[in-house]
């Protein structure tokens, strides 16, 4: 018998069907990958197992955990199962911990809730759990607070909490989605090791096929609350049957068609740029110290080219972007756009500024919710000396919306009426409307589901060819950068450590750091699709 058996599970929340006849099983010592896009019901399935569902939720079917029928358990029984028999790791390590309690107290709490032991003993065991999650006491004492740790370290604390009582089943809901590639690889290795050591069952939920492919023994693919494909990972990747799974696989490794004709002339020249931040002052009248976020960076972007910039969080990518856009003054070097400086007399050079636009990561946070699309899209007009008015303005908005695949009527809607992918199209329309030469894409597709991401990448490739656009594509996702850029720069700690044609850099990395990144990036198995 399986450790966790889910049989014809259906879930309704206030009458709205969320899950339909979901069935699968997890065995001890095995890793089950649950894959699906947002809204596929993968997280809700996990919360059903713990019965941590929102108000108005109604489950039917059967969930059995080590022989116990979860759906008939009382709340008291469920509390003794949660944390003791099932541990859970969540997506967002930055907010998953209580900011006011030490990590020691939070890990020890798992033990204190379930076992009648002294606080001192619980702390000793918490230290052991943290040690197992690779947070040794010497470097990370129990008295640390969450804000003193990085995202990856916090995720280790959450893992230590989940495994402190050596549960039979561990559920990890997108445990590495918010983390950098190298940290992701470390966390996945850790989970794999813990599964082997404790003979636990692991239910690993992800939207990323490549992450799961490396790790899972079995796979479940979900779409709109239903399981569409189910089987051992090894054989499934070679022979996916359901059209949705195949589409998902295709989208994950999608490479858009591009003509990719770069001119010889440089559009943007970055020369020995240095960006210092003033840090805290030591003592009351002490000297200020500086943090060098960008150190002596030089590169060119040629007209019509698509250049990738990869690196982990904190490497200086975003600082460099702000400097290129003329939002912040640099402390050394110069940035020239078509021969003109982007920053003159302590102000952004407007002549240059209107020829560059940017698309940000978050399709939810980067729009004013009280404006209609028409106003949102036409916002960059304020950069023009003679902004368009009346019919001309309306025509420009319609043209921009239509060029990104939206309808003319969409201009009267508000942003909440659109999905994440549509919002990102609107962001691109906003960037296109004043016909810029350079578009900076700052993690522009990172928050999107794979199939939507593939569509947006196709759109970008198409627009690039049609309008002869130049792209600076900033991302931590190597596979995306690989699919859409001609050249790539690798950035680490404020410096460019390697650069060259994208395929050459990723196939034969020279710098150690690039090698690390490439090795850490999850890849789909060869022969898939």
């Amino acid at each position: 018998m399986s450790l966790l058996g889910i049989d014809r599970l259906s879930l309704k929340i206030h009458g709205t069907p969320i899950l339909k006849d979901v069935s699968f099983a997890v065995d001890p010592g095995r890793i089950l990958g649950v894959i699906g896009e947002s809204g596929s019901g993968k997280s809700m399935t996990a919360f059903s197992v713990l019965q941590l569902l929102p108000n108005g939720a109604e489950c039917t079917g059967n969930i059995s955990l080590a022989g116990k029928d979860i759906l008939t358990c009382s709340e008291t029984e469920l509390c003794s199962i949660r944390g003791r028999e099932v541990g859970m790791v969540f997506q967002e390590p930055m907010t998953a911990l209580n900011p006011l309690q030490t990590i020691g107290a939070q890990v020890a709490e798992t033990i204190l809730v379930h076992e009648n032991v002294s606080k001192a003993e619980a702390m000793t065991r918490a230290a052991k759990a943290l040690q197992r999650a690779e947070l040794p006491q010497e470097k990370f004492p129990l008295s640390r607070y969450p804000h003193e740790l990085s995202g990856g370290q916090r995720q280790r604390v959450v893992i230590a909490m989940a495994i402190a009582l050596r549960p039979k089943l561990l559920i990890a809901d997108e445990p590495t989605t918010a983390l950098d590639v190298t940290t992701q690889a470390q966390i996945l290795d850790l989970l794999k090791r813990l599964v082997a050591e404790d003979d636990m069952g692991l239910m690993l939920i992800s939207h990323d096929l490549a992450v799961v492919a490396d790790l899972a023994d079995d796979l479940v693919i979900m779409q709109q609350g239903e399981v569409v494909e189910n089987g051992p990972a090894r054989s499934l990747f070679g022979a996916m049957q359901h059209p949705y799974s195949r589409a998902l696989l295709e989208a994950s490794s999608h490479v858009p068609d591009r003509l990719g004709e770069a001119h010889k002339t440089s559009l943007l020249q970055v020369r020995n740029v240095v960006r210092d931040y003033q840090q805290h002052v030591h003592g009351w009248w002490g000297a200020t110290t500086h943090f060098r976020a960008v150190n002596d960076v030089s590169f060119d972007i040629r007209r019509g080219e698509s250049l990738g910039l990869v690196g982990e969080s904190g490497c200086g990518k975003s600082t460099l972007t702000r400097a290129i856009l003329g939002l912040e003054e640099v402390q050394g070097g110069e940035i020239l756009f078509d021969g003109q400086p982007v920053f003159t007399h302590h102000h952004a050079n407007k002549d240059v500024r209107r020829r560059m636009q940017v698309v940000f990561q978050d399709p939810y946070g980067s729009f004013n919710p009280r404006w209609r699309v028409e106003k949102l899209v036409s916002e960059p007009f304020h950069l023009l000396q003679t902004p368009l008015h009346g019919h001309e303005r309306e025509n420009a908005v319609v043209e921009a919306l239509e060029s990104v695949g939206l309808g003319a009527e969409d201009r009267h809607k508000y942003i909440h009426e659109f999905s994440g992918g549509q919002r990102q199209r609107i962001a691109i329309a906003r960037a296109l409307i004043i016909k810029p030469d350079l578009i900076i894409l700052d993690e522009a597709v990172s928050a999107l589901d794979v199939s939507v991401r593939a569509q947006v990448l196709d759109l970008l490739a198409d627009l690039g060819d049609r309008f002869n656009l130049t792209y600076l594509f900033i991302s931590h996702d190597l596979s995306v950068v690989r699919s859409i850029t001609d050249r790539v720069l690798v950035m680490k700690a404020g410096e460019i450590v390697e650069g060259g044609p994208t395929d050459a850099v990723f196939d034969h990395p020279n710098h150690d750091y690039t090698k690390q990144l490439v090795a850490a990036a999850p890849v789909l198995p060869v022969g898939a699709a």
């Binding site: 949660r82 944390g83 907010t95 998953a96 900011p99 909490m161």
Partner: protein, 315 residues
């Protein structure tokens, strides 16, 4: 932590200096000569001058500011223009009524608001929640002087449990003093408790929807345990802010309630001093209230740091 403390302390000192300058200048530009007011319409010019000299009204603005501010530092608030007694004595007497009243009202409001807010938040959307929210709506809407008069009618005139007004004095014993402050404190606490309940409830509901509450539940904590151990302390920050503001208000804003109950408090003193154009008393009381507000804010800042380790960070 020490650095945070020193920084707060420096900001406290600077705020006090800035406030004293503003108060002094504001009263300087107010028309009306206290000496002329005291001596009446037919006063002789030389008598007026003599009185101005005696009151310290002559001299440059800077001299007068420095002598006033210097006096404040040594506890010498000057002499009241109308009563001819040291202002410090007058304020001292009144403070012994106003300060206990404010503390009493704040304690009552906290004792009502914390349980009510927590109760409503833990049963969100239930009849309890609706009931508590309705009651707080009423509590904010009812003017406290009207409620005070209602209480006088019921508890003083009909039931004869309390006196209708006046202050027994602390010489009559602690309990007698507290008894005469009870009705005013309730009248003051009611609207404050209503506001605080709403803040407590919404802050707690915000915290309860945070990710770390879900983490706590996944560890096996019950809903109630997750709330007491994880949500409550996180929810306290906005509540502390409001409590700080309320205390300052209670100390200074009790004018109407003090009048309803004939309490010899600071509010009544300011009221009388303004009508008598006793500027030195007004200046001193306002300065004292500003001092109280700033010190309370300082205390609230320190309380933040006690609650939230992120503020203690030495960076």
């Amino acid at each position: 932590m020490l650095r945070y403390f020193l920084k707060r302390l420096l900001s406290l000192a600077l705020s006090l200096v800035a406030a004293s300058v503003v108060i002094f200048l504001a009263l300087e530009v107010v028309p009306g000569d206290p000496a002329a007011y005291m001596l009446g319409l037919n006063a002789q010019e030389d008598t007026l001058n003599a009185l101005r000299e005696q009151l310290g009204l002559n001299g440059t603005i800077l001299e007068r500011y420095l002598s006033w501010a210097g006096g404040l530092l040594t506890g010498d608030f000057g002499i009241s223009y109308t009563y001819r007694t040291p202002v410090s004595e007058m304020i001292g007497d009144r403070l012994w009524v106003s300060l206990p009243l404010a503390l009493y009202a704040l304690t009552l409001s906290t004792l009502i608001a914390f349980p009510a807010g927590i109760w409503a938040a833990s049963r969100r959307g239930s009849y309890v929640d609706t009931g508590v929210m309705g009651a707080t709506q009423l509590g904010v809407a009812i003017p406290n002087f009207w409620f005070a008069m209602l209480m006088v009618l019921v508890f003083a005139i009909n039931l004869r449990w309390f006196s209708a007004g006046g202050f027994a004095g602390w010489e009559a014993g602690f309990l007698a003093g507290m008894k005469s402050l009870t009705l005013p404190a309730i009248a003051l606490a009611l609207p404050q408790a209503s506001i605080l309940t709403r803040v407590m409830r919404s802050s707690l509901l915000d915290t309860l929807s945070e990710d770390f509450i879900r983490t706590a539940r996944a560890k096996g904590l019950t809903r109630a345990q997750a709330m007491w151990r994880h949500a409550l302390r996180n929810a306290l920050i906005p509540v502390l802010t409001i409590m700080g503001l309320q205390f300052s208000f209670l100390l200074a804003g009790a004018i109407i309630i003090e009048n309803v109950f004939y309490l010899p408090g600071l509010g009544r003193l300011v009221f009388q001093a303004i009508s008598a154009r006793d500027l030195i008393v007004v200046e001193s009381v306002v300065m004292l209230l500003v001092f109280a507000v700033i010190v309370v804010n300082f205390a609230v800042d320190l309380a933040y740091a006690l609650v939230d380790p992120r503020l203690r960070r030495r960076r």
